[in-house]
Subunit: 197 residues, 2 copies
């Protein structure tokens, strides 16, 4: 219905996560109204990201150099490794300002429904690093796939690096969460993992 | 927090309508995972839209040529003009398959809050076209700005082209709409504009 070039741009926007036909149309029509300069900048930013970004060879996080800023930082504790699913999680944790170790980004989770196997993830590198670590903190999400991955990793690490302390981040009532709104699994976790005050 | 090139892409996505920090991050991280080819295609589509698309010199709709497909179509009734705010509305109406006249795209609405004046819109061209038309159908949205624009246009057209029939699309209960869910203004319209069955 739209001119060809616009239809093509709508199709590109539709590939973004959670974007349907209507939203893609809205985005594309806004691009039509933008200055040519701004659109050229957007196009350049897309190409740039693919050309400049790579994965840190140590932790797997997104990085513009061979090593990311965190792995290259000598002030951080390189014997404590915080294992997450994606680069987003690194940013979320860094925002707390409470963690001073390093990270390991799996770039995915083991998933039977999506057919993602352990060998598709950045796991071999984790086992290698874990040999020199004191603690590996498993911080995958509290979802089905996140728990499966954490379980798999904890067994693997305990078998391959028996001297390493393997921990899992705490599960329980979120800050500001009301007891009667929490689901049963969250409440069960909160009860089982209770601690002395 | 993210590498520079990624931060820049996130900022570009944030300019899209309704996109906040989280969504822009999600989009940008998906781009990191896409094939280089697909991303290059996306970048090219952005540039293409700005280079190829222009406004139809007759109706103001988006078009790849000087005249859009609808204005160039001799089978359509060129003496009936359906006036809308944006190219999206043309597509919505074309999907009904019930309209066989031509369009006029204002590319905006008169708005006191956004400071958009009649001279910012594609209105002079409408007055020129209306001189040769039988009917001008005002089909701006049933919002405050849409009603203001329709009111302005109806007065202007009646003054400048007194022979033209100026109509407004019907307002009332939407198809599938339940009476007790409709707001008061909609119900008032539905009552006032009732017709003999």
């Amino acid at each position: 219905m739209y001119p060809d070039s616009l239809e093509k741009l709508i199709a590109c926007f539709r590939r973004l996560p959670g974007v349907g036909e209507r939203t893609a149309e809205r985005y594309a029509l806004m691009i039509c109204d933008e200055d040519e300069e701004d659109v050229a900048e957007f196009a350049a930013a897309l190409v740039d990201v693919k050309q400049k970004l790579t994965h840190c060879r140590i932790c797997g996080n997104l990085s513009e150099g061979e090593e990311c800023g965190i792995c290259a930082d000598e002030k951080r504790n390189h014997r404590q490794i915080f294992v997450v699913q994606s680069p987003k999680d690194v940013i979320a944790m860094e925002k707390t300002g409470e963690y001073h170790g390093v990270y390991h980004v799996l770039n995915g989770l083991i998933s039977s429904t999506k057919g993602i196997l352990p060998e598709d993830l950045n796991i071999n590198e984790l086992v290698e690093r874990a040999g020199n670590a004191e603690e590996v903190i498993l911080a995958t999400s509290a979802t089905m796939d996140g728990e499966t991955t954490a379980m798999y990793l904890s067994r693997l690490l305990q078998a391959k690096c028996p001297d390493v302390l393997v921990t899992r981040i705490a599960h329980g009532l979120p800050s500001g969460g009301m007891l009667d709104y929490a689901d049963e699994i969250t409440l069960t976790h909160a009860l089982v993992d209770r601690r002395k005050v």
